[in-house]
């Protein structure tokens, strides 16, 4: 069963996290830094809210996590996409594409 997010902020955050992790496993802080680069707004409010989001996505089976060591030799928790996560990412991207297409058609550009 595929859950779609009703909550806009959650939905956007989730989609971006999935997108970021699509390139490979990252720890929480690294995700936050990537997100910052992608979009100034998503984590504008509080960086801490990333973590409940990560846990939620993990609970949904989109992500898995493990303690590991960073390049600089620090201990950190790394998140990676599960197969479910990849399917979800694809679904989100597709629905996003449809939405933008529809908006473009309406706006007549």
């Amino acid at each position: 069963m595929r859950k779609t997010n009703s909550d806009q902020l959650h939905g956007t955050l989730d989609m971006l996290v999935l997108k970021v992790l699509g390139d490979g496993p990252l720890h929480g802080y690294a995700i936050a830094v990537r997100l910052e680069k992608l979009s100034k707004e998503v984590l504008q409010v509080e960086e801490g809210s990333l973590y409940p989001a990560l846990y939620r996505m993990e609970a949904r089976g989109w992500l898995s996590s493990d303690w590991s060591v960073t390049d600089t030799g620090r201990r950190a928790r790394f998140y990676r996409l599960t197969r479910g996560g990849r399917v979800q990412l694809a679904a989100e991207q597709e629905s996003w594409a449809r939405l933008t297409l529809a908006v473009r058609a309406v706006m007549g550009s």
């Binding site: 929480g28 802080y29 830094v33 801490g48 809210s49 973590y51 409940p52 609970a59 928790r77």
Partner: protein, 866 residues
């Protein structure tokens, strides 16, 4: 969907809470450190970097908590917390919990046990395939009304069976009677006589051996028998090698050919083929042996009746009998449950009322407690417990109560079922074996759980509408209370009304029973003993010798004042009818008995005219009779019958005396016309043994052993069935009404107790809730009497309302039991008044006790309380 791994992770979070919480804390800390280091690298001073990192991150505690909620125990942990809290509350409020659980258990348990019995008695009394196809058949000769209805002959049965158009199978069922069976150990046991095909009609096969064939029913061939399961167990230990063994039934040798399955007619010990009578019997209609058939599948009773009537008419006219004969069919099911209706529905209603009272009680308790907890809930809400969380908490408390009550109820149902069957005031159908009914149990438990949940939730739902600030600021337990006070009063009214109906029913039964047992039977039952005894050799010659000799032997005992015998017990004996022919009148039906001299003295029937029989009369050589007053009045109005001939039978007997009337079958029976023949040994063969009547001098208990000795001393080998006092069988004759009274009395009592408990607890909580208000009133000079009056008045209104509604309800519902009452109208003013008074007084006392406690409150303490 989250899989099993997810739940394992959650479980880990619950069990190893610290580890998971620590992981989250560590992860967040790492984030903060990394951010601070980055900022430092960008040139900020260390302190400022840390400050900014923390600012950007937001509240660590908040995110940590949210994180834990998601990753950690979350739902599961709060459930466990709720349960833990519920158990603690359950224990802290032991009194409350006990009352609630006991109330629910009573409701659930009684309801389940009784409905299980009803299920066995009414809903499934015939545990056979397609019981609706079973019918009893009578042949109807036209133009003679009810008198023209006869049981079909065996030839009819066999013709219809061969025909197959109407019946799939059909048989004669003569019924059971107590007969001496000797398997090496002679005893009198129920023996049922049936024709071939009987088992097949019911769709039952012997568990061992074969059933009866048409051949077996002929008199000329050796007797065969089937054993009931229970009897084969007790006498042969269930030995399968029992087939082919010989037993004696009423002195006749019989070969065992089969054993019936367990549970099939459990009371019947032995089955023997019917009729085994002299030639000509098989073509006789109206022998009194009922015929039962199984209609072809899909054939309705009405259509079966009309097509069989045609068949019978055609056959009868072909055989030269009068035309117009038809048949009538009766539903076997209807006849089986007949007469059970009123008492079953009464009990069902009573038990439903108890379940309802129980639920109302629990509702009241929960409402009352909810009201006192309003403040606690408000506080918990104000420190962050969400509405959902609060509702969940209350829910788990209610579930806990309901579960405990339901469990206790199941235990109670299980324990009480057998006891209930033992005192059940109705004859259970032959094959009905009540067992705990799962559907009923589920229903009762669901009702209990639903009630608890519903009323347990009310406080939480109400709270969510209440402004927290006002609740807390009011600092007064009355906030939110008016509603609960009003609903509490409604609940009291409902309880009282139901209680009145129950008590009125119980009162009617008690009154009716008191009238029933105080009826003058015409003789004094506690003044004599009866001994039922019979020679093992059933030949008439032996009996004709034995009984007079036995009576004489008994009479010689020093402890005996008078002794005699009759061929029937005064109550419950089978009757033999004769018809007295009076010129220009319809024949008068009389009951005939054979008596040995001394019978009237022993049973205590007073002589009204003429004389009582003596030993000399036994050799008079002509029939002599004693008649009762009713017979004398009917047949010889205005003249003395003594010395006249009674126009009865071929040889009219001479009337030597007139004795008093008695109620033949106990208090509910009418006086019947009785004719007592002095036994002279000429009576035709009677299977029924004589009963010896003994009037003892002094205490009867010492006499029993002497009577046994006497019975064995006379000569032939005999079997003593039982020795009873007259009281025993009189009291047996009112067993059913007594059980009715006991059971309804019990239910009424339980209803009363539950109602009182409910009113007591609701008032008690009201008092606790209003302690402060009471303090204020007393501080302003209210006397304690005034306070008590105020509190009691709050309960008196709903109680009065309930009493009024209850009387109305009783007036409408007690009609149902009208047929069960003896010389008591269903609207008996005494019973109603007693119900009102009992409930009214109990209710006011139940309200007054806690109110008195309120009045003892010290105003200073009360004002400080909140």
């Amino acid at each position: 969907m989250p899989g099993i791994r997810h739940w394992l992770a959650r479980l880990r979070a619950v069990v190893r809470r610290d580890v998971v919480a620590g992981e989250i804390r560590e992860e967040l800390q790492i984030h903060l450190d990394m951010r601070a280091e980055d900022l430092e690298r960008q040139g900020l001073p260390r302190v400022e970097a840390r400050r900014q990192a923390a600012r950007r991150f937001g509240s660590v505690a908040l995110h940590q908590d949210r994180g834990y909620d998601i990753r950690g125990g979350g739902v599961m942990e709060t459930i466990i917390q709720d349960l833990r809290y519920s158990v603690r509350l359950f224990w802290t409020h032991r009194g409350f919990s006990f009352v609630a659980v006991a109330t629910l258990a009573l409701g659930v348990g009684l309801c389940t046990a009784l409905f299980s019995v009803i299920h066995a008695a009414i809903l499934r009394p015939l545990p056979y395939p397609d019981p609706q196809q079973l019918v009893r058949v009578n042949v109807v000769v036209p133009g003679r009304g009810e008198a023209g209805e006869f049981a079909p002959s065996l030839d009819d049965v066999r013709t219809w069976r061969a025909d197959q158009r109407v019946f799939r199978q059909i048989a004669v069922d003569r019924g059971a009677s107590d007969v001496i069976v000797d398997t090496g150990y002679p005893e009198r046991v129920p023996v049922q006589q049936v024709s071939e095909g009987f088992l097949e009609v019911l769709g039952v096969a012997p568990s061992l051996g074969r059933s009866f064939s048409a051949e077996d029913t002929r008199r000329e061939i050796p007797l065969v028998a089937l054993l009931g399961h229970g009897y084969s167990q007790t006498r042969f230990g269930g030995d399968r090698g029992v087939l082919g063994r010989q037993i004696r039934i009423a002195g006749e040798s019989a070969t065992i050919v089969g054993i019936l399955p367990a549970g099939f007619y459990p009371r019947v010990a032995v089955w023997q083929p019917f009729p085994r009578r002299p030639a000509g019997f098989e073509s006789m209609r109206g022998t009194g042996a009922p015929v039962i058939g199984r209609l072809q599948p899909g054939l309705s009773r009405a259509r079966a009746e009309s097509s069989l009537s045609q068949i019978v008419d055609v056959l009868d006219t072909a055989h030269g009998k009068p035309a117009g004969t038809s048949v009538r069919m009766y539903s076997h099911y209807d006849e089986t449950v007949e007469g059970s209706g009123p008492i079953v529905w009464t009990l069902a209603g009573a038990v439903a009322a108890i379940l309802l009272i129980a639920c109302v009680n629990v509702a009241g308790l929960l409402l009352a407690r909810g009201a006192t907890r309003q403040r606690e809930l408000a506080i918990r809400a104000s420190i962050g417990a969400g509405r959902v969380r609060l509702i969940r908490q209350l829910l788990s408390e209610s579930v806990m109560l309901a579960a405990a009550g339901g469990l206790a109820g199941i235990v109670l149902a299980w324990v009480s079922l057998d006891a209930l069957v033992a005192i059940l005031p109705l004859a259970l159908p032959e094959n009905a074996t009540p067992s705990l009914n799962v559907e009923v149990l589920a229903f009762s438990v669901i009702v209990a759980v639903f009630t608890s949940l519903l009323f347990g939730l009310v406080p939480a739902l109400r709270l969510s509408r209440v402004n927290l600030n006002t609740t807390l600021a009011a600092s007064d337990r009355r906030s939110g209370a008016p509603l609960s006070r009003r609903s509490g009063q409604w609940l009291i009214a409902i309880e009282v009304a139901l209680g009145v109906v129950l008590l009125a029913g119980a009162g009617l039964m008690i009154r009716s029973f008191a009238r029933l047992v105080s009826v003058d039977l015409g003789y004094n039952p506690d003044a004599f003993l009866t001994m039922e005894v019979s020679p093992l050799d059933p030949s008439p010659a032996v009996a004709a010798q034995y009984y007079p000799a036995l009576v004489e032997a008994v009479r010689r005992l020093p402890e005996v004042e008078a002794a005699g015998a009759a061929d029937q017990l005064p109550i419950g004996g089978s009757r033999r009818a004769g018809f007295v022919t009076v010129p220009e009148q319809q024949p008068i039906r009389v009951d005939e008995r054979q008596v040995l001299p001394g019978f009237f003295e022993a049973i205590g029937l007073p002589l009204k005219a003429g004389r009582l029989p003596t030993e000399a009369d036994r050799t008079a050589g002509r029939p002599l009779v004693v008649i009762n007053e009713l017979t004398a009045r009917r047949i010889f109005p205005g003249v003395s019958p003594v010395g006249r001939l009674l126009p009865l039978g071929k040889e009219p007997p001479e009337i030597i005396g007139v004795v008093g009337d008695f109620l033949q079958d106990g208090a509910r029976s009418p006086v019947r016309a009785n004719v007592y023949f002095v036994y002279q040994g000429y009576a035709e063969l009677r299977r029924q043994p004589f009963v010896v009547f003994v009037r003892p001098r002094g205490a009867p208990s010492a006499l029993v052993a002497r009577l046994r000795d006497a019975a064995h001393s006379v000569g032939p080998r005999v079997l003593i069935d039982r020795i009873r006092s007259g009281d025993d069988f009189v009291s047996e004759s009112v067993t059913v009404p007594r059980r009715r009274m006991v059971l309804l009395g019990l239910l009424g009592g339980i209803g009363l107790v539950l109602t009182v408990v409910g009113i007591f607890s609701m008032t008690a909580y009201a008092v606790v809730r209003r302690t402060r208000e009471i303090g204020v009133r007393m501080a302003f000079g209210a006397t304690s009497g005034h306070v008590v009056r105020t509190m009691v008045r709050d309960t008196a209104w709903p109680v009065s309302l309930g009493l009024a509604a209850g009387i109305g309800g009783a007036y409408l519902t007690t009609r149902v039991i009208a047929t069960l009452l003896f010389e008591t109208t269903p609207h008996d003013a005494g019973a109603f008044a007693a119900a009102l008074a009992t409930l009214g007084v109990s209710a006011i006392v139940a309200a007054w006790l806690p109110a008195r406690r309120a009045a003892r409150v010290d105003p200073v303490v009360a004002l400080r309380s909140d």
